[in-house]
Subunit: 259 residues, 2 copies
């Protein structure tokens, strides 16, 4: 970042601009820099990295104070980062932050998470990026125990940056006595009982998305899922280069013989 | 797969169930097994791994022939795989396939791609999975030069499987003289000029998503982007474990001193 300027921090979320989590995040981060928020005008949970391609996206300013502007946007979380970068911010942000999400984004949920869609979008554009999530879906969830960790992790990333193509997925357990921070691996597991029938008239082919995440390695204390279950903040460094390098040679052998 | 049964192949796409690409794919794959298609009822480009969480999802049967059933679904591509697995298929599919997409899903586009959202969803559930895409957005794109590669790659994956947590991102150049197949890395690059203004009345804060992908390493012949630009089918093995293992130790050191 330039010496004479406060760090520019671009924030979004997937619960919508009025959610408690993003407004707590704004409070915690205001002392650290100039804040620009562009967030969806309503809830967009489960957006992943989705973009809006079939209709135009619109934004409007809804709040302005010294070193803080807040915009509401009709698009997805990833749209918000793309649009803010190309319209309302005058320079490359020093940091992109998603959250604080109302709900767990550990394990394989990273793929479905709009919060992590924000961090991935920042990271793909070379900006140090973090997604913060609390394991509590309630609209009035208690975020206060996260504050000190959010401040310190954000300050660390502002000072030291992150490696190329790496962002952070930070998840908080829903407890008041947090034991500390653990650097974690993405847990291996699957969603089960994913659909809840909600028949309409005589049609039983309507379903609500539902289900529960089952950790397939509950005893593996390296995973984010384990850390959360045991009272730690889970910090999972997350790579946006998805290449499976370890399979390239074998795949090459297979395709050379088959094609 | 069980010996007495034909392989069960679950197919979806993000261009919608009536798109040419998915109907060509169905034709190519019918000789290989029993086909179940559940695809969005209209275009869902740029869906990534997005899920529908704020309203129920519905499906209906629209076509039935020997060893082929086609369902239209109101959800996203990833919803389609989740819903089909839990409703209309009676056993775990032997293969999940997304495509053939009308448009390029190489490089960082893997994150935004509904086609790859399908493959990632299959892979997260332990099913060998592939996304096929052609570098041509036209509704009447010519897919016929892809057929032989799709058949062979699908057959190879049916026979030999894929490693745990790895799926394939297969992209075809839009040419009739394909030079062959290359196993690739995900290209490093960024989208530029991403928004096209579309003012409405006196409001200039409306934008269409647009832009172009700029390859930051155009001379790197290991990338999928290079392969496509040079006439090869790009086969990029894709990992759904996003953990940045190479950064864990340093992150641990940083967090131990800061927190």
């Amino acid at each position: 970042m330039e010496n004479n300027k406060k760090p520019l921090i671009l924030i979004s979320n997937d619960d919508g601009v009025t959610a408690k989590g993003i407004n707590e995040l704004i409070k915690y981060l205001r002392p650290l820099g100039e804040i620009v928020v562009m967030a969806p005008d309503s809830a967009r949970s489960g957006s992943g990295c989705a973009l809006t391609v079939n209709y135009p996206v619109h934004y409007r300013l809804i709040r302005q104070e010294p070193s803080l502007r807040v915009y509401a946007c009709t698009g997805t979380p990833a749209d918000c980062i793309k649009l803010a970068r190309n319209t309302v911010v005058e320079r490359q942000p020093d940091l992109v932050i998603g959250g604080i999400n109302h709900g767990d984004n550990s394990g394989t949920n990273v793929h479905y998470s709009g919060t992590m869609g924000i961090a991935i979008e920042g990271c793909l554009n070379g900006i140090p990026s973090i997604g913060f999530s609390l394991c509590d879906h309630a609209p009035d969830a208690e975020f206060r125990y996260c504050e000190k960790y959010i401040t310190e992790i954000t300050r660390m990333v502002l000072e030291k940056g992150l490696p190329d193509r790496v962002c952070l997925n930070v998840n908080f357990p829903n407890i008041d006595q947090i034991k500390g921070v653990k650097v974690c691996e993405q847990a291996v597991g699957r969603w089960e009982r994913e659909w809840q029938p909600c028949p309409r008239h005589h049609d039983d082919r309507y379903f609500w998305l539902s289900g529960e995440f089952v950790n397939y390695e509950p005893g593996n204390n390296k995973t984010d899922n384990w850390a959360l279950a045991n009272g730690y903040v889970a910090v999972t460094p997350t790579l946006v280069d998805l290449t499976a390098y370890h399979f390239m040679e074998e795949l090459n052998t297979r395709l050379s013989s088959d094609l």
